[in-house]
């Protein structure tokens, strides 16, 4: 026969285990603040996979911190390290309104210099119609007062020209594209690069671009005008997050 009335003194310490507590029986009135304050403090920003308890419409769930952290600014997505020669570097599966691609010590196999070009696309194709990619930039030689301006309208965008096979790479910088995966807007961008021309000199290059396409892009590729290979460097992809 089970007992229905047990004096407090009749229960010894730690005698009640989980099997004797009814489901859903532990409510707020039974919880002491020390259930939280009695634990060790995590004295740093939680990892993305650290978990928080949340009531989802009345159902308790665990929530990864990654879903609620505020991270305005550039958020790293992916990296391609040129560990062996390739003709093309592509990022696919991108779902971001604003992206940045960072180029780090990129070099090619071209002994006389070639151009690095860019195209955007979606799952159907990379866009390559005439005059789709419009850009202009200002260049300045790092080791002299020389400089100038250039414009281009083409089937792809020339990111930088006369990149050669100098050991250690010949290009660093970034390309930003705004409205990338947004089908309701055209795509605008800007870039800032520093590079060594195979035909002599070091240059800084800053410019803007407009891509005459209003579809939601999900991929971007980089290739060389002469069909040659990238031989070194890294391409890093970031998403610009508002929050």
């Amino acid at each position: 026969m089970s007992k229905t009335t047990i004096p407090t003194g009749g229960i010894t310490a730690d005698a009640i285990n989980g099997t004797l507590i009814a489901d859903d029986a532990v409510s707020e009135e039974h919880l002491d603040a020390t259930a939280l304050t009695g634990n060790a403090a995590l004295a740093e920003t939680p990892a993305d996979t650290d978990e928080i308890l949340v009531s989802d419409g009345g159902t308790l769930k665990r929530l990864d911190f990654s879903h609620i952290k505020s991270s305005p600014g550039y958020s790293f997505l992916s990296r391609t390290l040129i560990s062996s020669n390739v003709a093309t570097v592509e990022f696919t599966g991108i779902s971001a309104s604003n992206i940045r691609v960072v180029f780090q010590a990129v070099g090619t196999d071209d002994g006389s210099g070639t151009n690095i070009r860019v195209q955007l696309g979606d799952s159907s194709t990379y866009r390559s119609n005439a005059d789709t990619y419009k850009s202009a930039h200002q260049y300045n030689q790092l080791d002299s007062a020389s400089g100038g301006n250039e414009q281009e309208s083409s089937t792809s965008m020339r990111l930088v020209d006369n990149i050669g096979n100098t050991g250690g790479g010949s290009l660093g910088g970034y390309l930003d594209i705004f409205g990338f995966s947004d089908s309701s807007t055209y795509m605008w961008g800007n870039f800032a690069l520093a590079h060594q021309r195979k035909a002599g000199g070091y240059y800084s290059k800053k410019g803007g671009c407009w891509f005459n396409m209003d579809f939601a892009a999900d991929r971007i590729k980089f290739f060389l005008s002469d069909g040659g290979d990238f031989t070194q460097g890294e391409f890093l992809l970031y998403e610009y997050k508002e929050a």
Partner: protein, 118 residues
């Protein structure tokens, strides 16, 4: 020779080295064929020449007298396309200093590019 690409799926973070085939390979080979190495070198020579000429344009100001050695040098630069016509001659003009310890590392070494001082 087989050509490859790095395919980076930004969603999964998986990076694959994939052989380029089909239409994509044809397009790449067409680019290779269309690339005119000699024309590109000439373009670079003209680019460098333009910068050198621009750097001495100020000598043309009305309140400055352009020294004869600058006049001669500028004419020599303008005559580059007349006096250098083969791809190997282009290569000579485009040789750069490859000594990383040198102050002129990465700069053109052919004497034609050096602005005279007298």
């Amino acid at each position: 020779m087989a050509k490859y690409k790095f395919l980076n799926n930004a969603k999964t973070g998986v990076v694959e080295r994939v052989e380029i085939t089909g239409d994509e390979l044809k397009e790449l080979e067409a680019r290779e064929t269309a690339w005119d190495s000699k024309a590109n070198k000439l373009k670079e020579i003209k680019f460098n020449r333009l910068l050198k000429l621009q750097a001495t344009d100020w000598y043309s100001n009305s309140d400055v007298t352009m020294p004869s050695y600058i006049k001669t040098w500028r004419q020599t630069l303008r005559d580059i396309t007349k006096n250098f016509t083969t791809e190997s001659q282009y290569d000579e003009l485009l040789v750069v200093d490859t000594d990383k310890t040198s102050k002129t590392f990465g700069q053109l070494t052919h004497s034609i590019w050096t602005q005279p001082t007298s």
